[in-house]
Amino acid sequence: MNLRAVWAIYRVEMARAFRTVLQSIISPVISTSLYFVVFGSAIGSRITEIDGISYGAFIVPGLIMLSLLTQSISNASFAIYFPKFVGSIYELLSAPVSYLEIVIAYVGGAATKSIILGLIILATASLFVPLHIEHPFWMLAFLILTAVTFSLFGFIIGIWARSFEQLQLVPLLIVTPLTFLGGSFYSIHMLPGIWKTITLFNPVVYLISGFRWSFYGKADVSVAVSLGMTLVFLATCIAIVAWIFRTGYRLRN
């Protein structure tokens, strides 16, 4: 195991986050605060509570997931796409580094950043609403699992993308809609019949539901199913990454 290489890549990735602190930390904090003002206050004045939880507190897990998903994807996809774009990836490919080490370093870096971000949003949220975390262990477990899974997903997008447009395409056209329709701002039980069923095909529903359960002990779907779906998604991403590396797909061809 070339741990020095893993550490070198990881450090560069973290340094990049600190260099772009405005973009990677401050802007999500500002947008989260805006969500609180708009959704928490404006809508919260109409919907006072869901499942016995005040509306402001109810949306916290969803808001964290929203940033966690989008930031994990954009961090990881950019981290591997950029060297591909400028050509400096030659060095990574010519170095005595295994695929596993490359993934650990890049995905680890991206996931670390989004976990830190998630915790910052959690801290920001605690300024607006009283927070209560029923299952702290599971809260962290969902946080880490989701960050890792979506960083892997972002890594795949970064390798697949041939242009900046493609890099933005998947997050913009698929992930953002799925997150907004994933029950961040409402319980799926509030949806009319057919939409409730359709929503169950949205993987993000399971992430948010499980994560919310870790806070309040209440969930849209059972926690075991949430955990299972997260693991299935993780396994799928791992399988795709393994295939990419075995074939050299868009890296060594």
Binding site: A8, V12, F82, Y90
Partner: protein
């Protein structure tokens, strides 16, 4: 002496169907400077990319100091430093950070003293805290070299190292290459500037359309394929070349004041001394003469011209 790099039967066909390399066989001796020459698109960069692990080959084997580049890629790649043709650097990192990153990437423990020496040797020490984006083209090239040397490679690939580089850097670079060679580093370079290969290389390989068409000691190549030319400036113009000089196949310039005699080292054409005697015998007087050895460039161009 065993070769440090052994390439056998390597082919590469890109997804587009383009055959970049066809059954390439090549052995590089330990400690030599090897120049790989070839026109654009001949397969030089593809070959280097395969050896360094950047591009997958379609078939064949490559071993670096006995290590197969696939089975034993860690050992093989640790030995290699690569300076690619394009200036591709993470623009927002400082010189110091990016060179240390390269060293870490190759699994070497941090060694600030060594990295400092590399930067000083390349006149980059003053710029160590500058971001790569602020460097001039020449400085970026130096930085690419520093990155490649940061992990103390035993084989250094320089892909078109002097393309677009000023005279000072070029001289610095060749001085560095000589120092590295004294330390036992094997150097493989590709270049368009054939005079550089002529000056630096121990051996020369010529690649064209994905095939190695020649590998030879430079001195031997120059001797075997080099030609000599003598230009003779005449006192009085000649209307035509006298018959008794026909065996020399002389060329007469348009105004009749200059004769050119071309002969190569292999041919059995008579030497200069007999030509001068025969000129005198024919009553042709000359004012001056000068001789010229053909350069590697001319040899190279001739080689490519002979290709079907």
């Amino acid at each position: 002496m065993p070769s440090i790099l052994s390439i056998s039967g390597v082919s590469k066909t890109y997804a587009t169907g383009f055959k970049a390399l066809k059954e390439v066989n090549l052995d590089i001796q330990r400690g030599e400077i090897f120049a790989l020459l070839g026109p654009n698109g001949a397969g030089k960069t593809t070959l280097i990319s395969i050896i360094c692990g950047i591009v997958n080959r379609s078939s064949g084997t490559v071993t670096v100091d006995g290590h197969d580049i696939n089975r034993d890629y860690r050992a093989a790649r640790s030995l290699i430093g690569l300076v690619p043709q394009e200036l591709t650097i993470d623009a927002f990192e400082t010189v110091w950070a990016t060179v240390n990153y390269s060293r870490g990437l190759f699994g070497k423990p941090a060694n600030p003293a060594f990295v400092e020496k590399v930067l000083r040797d390349l006149s980059l020490w003053d710029k160590k805290d500058a971001k790569a984006i602020t460097l001039s083209g020449g400085m970026k090239r130096r930085l690419m070299i520093a990155k490649a040397l940061s992990h103390e490679p035993r084989i250094l690939f320089l892909d078109e190292p002097t393309a677009g580089v000023d005279v000072e850097l070029r001289q610095d670079m060749w001085a560095m290459v000589r120092r590295l060679r004294e330390d036992g580093v094997t150097i493989i370079l590709t270049t368009h500037y054939i005079e550089e290969a002529e000056e630096m290389a121990d051996r020369v390989g010529v690649i064209n359309r994905g095939e190695i068409i020649l590998v030879e000691e430079k001195a031997e190549l120059m001797r075997k394929l080099g030609r000599k030319q003598i230009r003779i400036e005449l006192r009085a113009p000649l209307a035509s070349i006298p018959d008794e000089l026909a065996r020399y196949a002389l060329e007469l310039s348009g105004d009749g004041t200059e004769l050119t005699y071309t002969y190569d080292n292999q041919s059995d054409r008579p030497g200069v001394a007999s030509l001068i005697r025969d000129l005198e015998a024919s009553g042709i007087q000359f004012r001056d003469l000068d001789t010229k050895n053909s350069s590697l460039e001319e040899i190279f161009v001739n080689l490519l011209r002979q290709e079907p």
